[in-house]
């Protein structure tokens, strides 16, 4: 079973002058279970919008998206929220950790939203990404590299079928970017989780065997 299937997906925004501006028009995109791929595209090419559509944060105008066998485009908002909590992990460029929570609590949070908090697994994930000894640190007490490690652990918290990473190294220096990307790929591989990374960074793209060009996929 594919971790991700995208078919005839369309999304347009309405400009202030009322004109509909197509942003995403992807005919076919598939990612096998446990597979890893990078999606390259320049800024403003619709990469983030595509990820938000796959995650069910945005609703598609047309087409279908299937994540781990469940068609997210056919689900109501509450169903999309549930699927996102259970089957999708998200890594953001700016990490988006909750500032009021410790590293451990940030990783526990997705589990709680799913209704199955597991402190031992959260701690183990943080240890796996090299954050042992800093479980009780708040984001402001961590370096950017460490924050991204916590974000990687959080994305894997609920054993998702698919991790979406939006410019995951965009805020890191070269050394930390390499480390973070390597870690993300390793952890996803160990968990049998498919990974889709969007980036415009050639060094990131160079680390993937499969690189999809958004300008070829996206007819918008």
């Amino acid at each position: 079973m594919d971790a991700l299937v995208v078919e005839r997906l369309k999304k347009a925004y309405v400009a202030p002058d009322g004109e509909r501006v197509p942003v995403v028009d992807v005919q076919d995109l598939r990612l096998a279970e446990g597979a890893q791929a990078a999606l390259k595209g320049r800024s403003g090419s619709g990469k983030t919008t595509l990820l938000n559509l796959i995650a069910g944060v945005l609703r598609a105008d047309e087409g279908r998206i299937v994540v781990a066998g469940e068609e997210i485009t056919a689900l109501p908002e509450a169903g999309r929220d549930r699927l996102r909590a259970e089957r999708i992990g998200y890594v953001f460029q700016t990490f988006n950790l909750l500032q009021g929570l410790t590293a451990l609590e940030n990783v526990l949070l997705p589990m709680m939203l799913r209704g199955a908090p597991d402190r031992a697994r959260a701690a183990a994930l943080l240890e796996r990404v090299g954050m042992n000894g800093r479980l009780d640190y708040r984001p402001a007490q961590l370096s950017v590299g460490q924050q991204q490690r916590v974000a990687v652990a959080r994305a894997l918290a609920n054993r998702p079928a698919l991790v979406l990473a939006d410019e995951p190294t965009g805020n890191l220096d070269e050394q930390h970017a390499d480390e973070a990307l390597g870690l993300l790929r390793d952890v996803c591989r160990e968990n049998g989780t498919a990974l889709l990374v969007v980036s415009h960074d050639a060094r990131v793209l160079g680390r993937f065997e499969r690189v999809l060009a958004l300008k070829e996929l996206n007819r918008a």
Binding site: V57, D81, N96, Q99
Partner: protein, 419 residues
């Protein structure tokens, strides 16, 4: 629920200062409501409760002044009535008990009441009579004997003045502690056990002592009579400040009220509880104003909760977007903000009990010191549960607007990186 409780706890911790300030405001509001309602209710109960007598006979004038003066030992005496009128009422078959009071002196500000030993047999509350205090297994003296220069102290008097059994003191003329000190010396024969009534602030002496007190002039006959120290005073010269009456049934009250009026010199305050009830009814507007002020403080504190949460909504939009991206439902975000407002209000309501306890303690201390009337800080009043629940509900209500804003957070827009 567990997730919402977790989010609320962490958010309150993260915004600890504003949480403390808004919860403090809610505590003051809740404490004020509790205090206004419970203290006024307790004060009303304390002043309206049965004092052991049905009526007071006194000089013609205000019934309220008569009751305040003779039952609560407040205010000045409205004047005296002849001894003969006391005897006439005492002999009346409709009167079960008549005890005369003569006032006009004090000791260090505590009123001296001249009366008969019968006062110590009166049930000042259901099943409770005046009794001599007991300390370390010893009774603190005895009641006074009629005709002697002896005094029995109320518990508060003994506590405040330090007078003990066998100590001697000189009464001071009038109600002012700085007035003329009489030559007459009185010996303390007993100290009463606390009654939690105004009687605790009274020095009881035989009524003959007031008649014979140096400098006192009797006008019972209509003419002034200055008695010699050992003189057997004729009844016609004697006068009393009030006569405390227990009546035989309600009909007696109506008839004796008319009888007092027809005497031309006296007023019968009956029933005593109604006189005080009338006073509280007249003060109703003041209580209403206090209640309105309390409600306004509640409204301001709830507005404070609303404003403090609403103002953080903009800076928390990203937090809500992250929660949604992690799989939180819109309803979870909405409920967490409403619960946060309710939690602040709940903390305020709990702290409100502390504010209430402090206010009641201060009010009880002042009232006891000034009047001898004791409030019960633990007395039940429906406001004790209604006000905290109301504050909790209003707090949750105040959270609806910020929660709606959180509910409508545009997830995709707020997940985007900010420079």
């Amino acid at each position: 629920m567990r997730t919402i409780a977790f989010l609320v706890r962490r958010s309150l911790r993260q915004h600890a200062l504003s949480t403390a300030v808004t919860a403090g405001a809610a505590a003051l509001a809740c404490g004020l409501v509790l205090s206004v309602f419970s203290v006024t209710a307790q004060a009303r109960d304390a002043f309206v409760r049965d004092p052991g007598f049905d009526a007071v006979l006194g000089a013609k004038g205000s019934e309220l002044q008569l009751v305040l003066n003779s039952v609560f030992h407040l205010e000045t005496s409205p004047g005296n009535i002849p001894w003969s009128l006391y005897e006439e009422f005492r002999e009346d078959p409709r009167v079960a008990l008549a005890i005369p009071y003569a006032v006009g002196d004090n000791y260090r500000g505590f009123r001296i009441v001249g009366t008969t030993p019968e006062i110590f047999e009166v049930e000042y509350a259901k099943g409770r009579r005046y009794g001599i205090a007991v300390a370390e297994g010893q009774r603190l003296g005895r009641f006074f004997q009629a005709g002697n220069r002896e005094a029995v102290l109320g518990s508060r008097v003994a506590e405040a003045t330090g007078l003990k059994v066998n100590d001697a003191f000189h009464p001071t003329h009038g109600a002012d502690a700085e007035g003329h000190v009489h030559e007459d010396e009185y010996t303390v024969t007993g100290i009463l056990a606390p009654t939690n009534t105004p009687a605790d602030r009274v020095v009881w002496i035989p009524i003959e002592g007031i008649f014979h007190m140096e400098g006192h002039v009797l006008r019972g006959s209509g003419e002034e009579h200055d008695p010699e120290p050992d003189e057997e005073i004729a009844q016609e010269h004697k006068e009393v400040s009030a006569v405390m009456l227990r009546l035989k049934g309600e009909a007696a009250g109506f008839a004796l009220k008319i009888k007092a009026r027809e005497s031309g010199v006296a007023t019968l305050a009956w029933p005593i509880a109604n006189v005080m009830q009338d006073l509280f009814d007249k003060l109703f507007w003041f209580v209403r104003i206090l209640e309105i002020v309390a409600y306004l403080v509640v409204a301001v504190s709830m507005a404070g909760i609303l404003a403090s949460l609403y103002n953080t909504m903009n800076e928390r939009r990203r937090e809500f977007a992250i929660l949604r991206a992690l799989g939180a439902r819109k309803g979870t975000v909405f409920a967490s903000v409403v619960s946060e407002a309710a939690a602040i209000a709940a903390a305020g309501a709990l702290l409100g009990y502390l504010v209430h306890a402090l206010v009641v303690a201060a009010a009880a201390h002042t009232l006891r010191t000034e009047t001898g009337v004791v409030l019960d800080p633990f007395a039940y009043h429906p406001v004790l549960w209604a006000a905290p629940l109301g504050i909790l509900a209003l707090g949750a209500l105040a959270g609806l607007l910020p929660a709606t804003k959180a509910y409508r957070t545009d997830v995709a827009a707020n997940l985007a990186p900010t420079s």
